[in-house]
């Protein structure tokens, strides 16, 4: 559902969102204006409680603003009912979460096909499209594995395939590398960037990692419910026109069997998991984990 060129994928004008907590109004966003063009690559940064999560929920049509005007995929969110919002999400938005959010007891291909279920597409076509999408993220050989049979990086790639299988206009990634070790995170990031370039879907990524943010074409800094800066880096980001290579998959191999390649592991730096195949997300992902407990957003 990529809108035609020139029409913004998302347009927010003076958008605010206030929560009611025990009768007290808590403003999470206090008038935010921004436009996201098709194919854009935007990093949203800000400390916890800054309102960036709230902004992401609004951009993803998971929530409606309490003030201002928010147009997603050409539709004014304020005028939409809950079912219409669901349809809008289905057609326009792809979500990638920090904690993957894959359905357990469900194969990779069925996880990826899930959004197509709610689009009313038949089972066979769903599977074909999901399998093709898994091939694009380098998991063509993992179609029938369940999430608990996949490494963290593989799980996130399944989630990315699920986000993109509907060909959304906007791909929203909320700390997509937050639960992954550095090497795996890097591969996931490169995948997102490549798909952003290939598919024409705008990539909006929440991160508090300055290095990650620096790769984006555009960086939006949020603080105290307001946009503090919105900078465009000319020529920012890595090259997109590179096909998926073994380098992309390498960290997964490490992830799955860390003891099998001890020599290359020593060379991959402090980001490599110290041990245990399944512990990759926990071991080195922990320092990156955003503390959300204090934030109202």
């Amino acid at each position: 559902m990529t809108p035609p060129a020139g029409v913004p994928a998302v347009e927010a004008v003076d958008v605010s969102r206030t929560y009611q907590l025990d009768g007290v109004s808590v403003p999470a966003l206090r008038g935010v204006s921004l436009t996201i063009a098709p194919g854009d690559y935007v990093a949203v940064i800000g400390p916890s409680g800054s309102g960036k999560s709230t902004l992401m929920h609004l951009l993803g049509a998971l929530d409606r603003p309490t003030g201002g005007r928010l147009v997603i995929g050409g539709r004014d969110v304020a005028t939409l009912s809950a079912p219409e919002l669901a349809t809008l999400r289905n057609e326009t938005i792809g979500f990638v979460f920090q904690s993957f959010h894959l359905l357990p007891r469900t194969s990779a291909v069925d996880n990826v096909a899930l959004p197509l279920v709610y689009r009313g597409i038949g089972a066979r076509q769903r599977r074909e499209r999901a399998a093709a999408m898994l091939g694009r993220v380098g998991l063509g050989h993992r179609l029938h594995h369940r999430p608990n049979q996949l490494s963290g990086g593989e799980q996130q790639r399944v989630a990315i395939a699920r986000a993109l299988v509907t060909e959304p206009a906007v791909l929203l990634a909320d700390e997509p590398t937050g639960n992954l070790d550095t090497a795996t995170g890097e591969a996931v990031l490169e995948l997102l960037e490549r798909l952003n370039a290939e598919s024409g879907a705008a990539l909006v990524m929440v991160t508090h990692d300055q290095e990650v943010a620096a790769r984006a074409r555009r960086r939006i800094a949020v603080r105290d419910g307001l946009i503090r800066s919105d900078t465009v880096t000319a020529g920012g980001g890595p090259p997109h026109d590179r096909p998926l290579t073994d380098r992309d998959r390498r960290p997964e191999t490490l992830d799955a069997a860390p003891s099998a390649e001890p020599r290359s592991a020593s060379g991959s730096g402090p980001g490599h998991p110290s041990g245990g195949s399944g512990g990759a997300a926990g071991a080195t992902g922990l320092p990156r984990h955003e503390d959300r407990t204090g934030g109202a957003s």
Binding site: H57, G60, L62, D63, A82, P83, A86, T87, R89, N90, E91, I93, F95, F97, H101, L103, R105, L114, P115, V117, Y118, R119, G120, G122, A123, R162, T166
Partner: protein, 394 residues
């Protein structure tokens, strides 16, 4: 499609929590099975009683003092054999008129005894009521006219007093007075827990002498034809009322008795079904409870589904289906269990049970309905979950 996905997810959820699903179903299974069994017993009892009343003989008219109705106290009868003669004149055929004067008494033979009902009757009893003998002969007109001390034993009395001897020609003492056994009835079986073979027939005149009374408890008439049975009843009641102005009389037909009994047994069946229904209700509460747990457990999944485009309805339908599947599968198992139990009860116990298709349809329908009723609240809760909150759930 969306509905197919809802089915798949609902089945998957039930499979993923086998133990929990089975225990939740158990409540519904027990509820449905008890409804089926109790309704079957109620229906079976009603059918059997109706059979027995119809088996009393056709075109039967019972004439008793007082009003025959549920909840009215019996009245001491003012009737005597003179009234019976009057009724015979109204009917026009003494062979169609039977009487009874009954009382409990101890029957003794040798060192055995049995407390039973002694009925003083006319020789017309086997024709008016359909009764047949296993051995010997029945009372004759001469026996009645001469108050001869002869007795015809019910099958179970005969068995109790003469377990290893032929009772014919033997002496029995009824309330201390000796009678000679001239016949034994063919067995009738039980009716509503009452042993219908526990009785002794003696000439009415001998019975009246035994108890020192002129009384007759009731008169039974076998009407010549079904069409004018009501009119005949009215004429008999009119005649008796003329002879005993102070007493009210009733003449009831088998159809009326069936009606009264049917009402009583219908209420009984209803009460039984209602009690069983309560257990079904409790089963439904269990379903509701487990569905709320299921929704809470899968809050993140709900959030994710909503994020990728599931509408509130899609989520609601998914959980409602899960609840209905639980109760419908439980309902089917409960039906099978109920039918099996009812057939077993009917086969091995004296309690009759009859399966009716409507009770099965009702039980299954109610169990599915229970799923809908008790699944709606959890399903709505799931459908209305805020995706932002749901995605963040633990």
């Amino acid at each position: 499609m969306r509905v197919a996905e809802a089915w798949r997810v609902a089945l998957d959820a039930l499979r993923a929590n086998r133990m929990r699903s089975a225990l939740t179903m158990l409540g519904v299974i027990i509820g449905v099975a008890s409804v089926v069994v109790l309704v079957a017993i109620g229906t079976g009892t009603k059918q059997k009683v109706e059979q027995q009343v119809e088996g009393l003989g056709s075109n039967l008219l019972l004439v008793v003092p007082g009003k025959l109705d549920v909840g009215t106290a019996p009245v001491v009868s003012p009737l005597t054999l003179k009234d019976v003669d009057a009724v015979s004149r109204v009917v026009g055929d003494p062979g169609r008129v039977a009487v009874t004067v009954a009382s409990g008494a101890t029957a003794r033979a040798g060192n055995r005894s049995d407390f039973t009902t002694v009925q003083g009757v006319l020789e017309t009893t086997p024709t008016v009521f359909t009764r047949s003998l296993a051995r010997g002969r029945y009372l004759t007109g001469a026996d009645v006219d001469t108050s001869r001390r002869v007795a015809v034993l019910g099958a179970s009395v005969a068995k109790a007093l003469f377990p290893d001897r032929d009772p014919l020609g033997q002496q029995v003492a009824l309330a201390g007075v000796r009678f000679r056994v001239i016949g034994v009835f063919a067995p009738l079986g039980q009716s509503l827990g009452v042993d219908r073979d526990d009785e002794v027939h003696v000439p009415v005149t001998a019975a009246q002498r035994l108890w020192g009374t002129q009384r007759v408890d009731g008169i039974a008439v076998k009407a010549p034809d079904r069409e004018r049975i009501g009119e005949l009843g009215d004429r008999i009641v009119a005649e008796l009322s003329r002879r005993h102005p102070d007493t009210e009389f009733s003449a009831v037909t088998q159809q009326q008795i069936l009606g009264v009994l049917g009402d009583i047994l219908g209420v009984l069946t209803g009460v039984l079904a209602a009690i069983a229904g309560i257990s079904l209700l409790v089963g439904g509460v269990g379903v509701s409870n487990i569905m709320l747990v299921s929704v809470r457990e899968r809050t993140r999944e709900i959030g994710l589904r909503k994020a990728v485009g599931a509408r509130p309805r899609d989520i609601g339908v998914q959980f409602l289906l899960e609840a209905v599947l639980l109760t419908a599968i439980g309902g089917l198992i409960g039906m099978a269990l109920g039918v099996g139990t009812a057939l077993l009860v009917d086969a091995v116990s004296p309690i009759p049970a009859a399966i009716t298709w409507w009770s099965l349809a009702l039980a299954f329908g109610v169990s599915a309905l229970v799923g809908i009723v008790f699944g709606v609240v959890p399903a709505q809760r799931a459908g209305r979950l805020d995706p932002v909150v749901a995605l963040r759930a633990e």
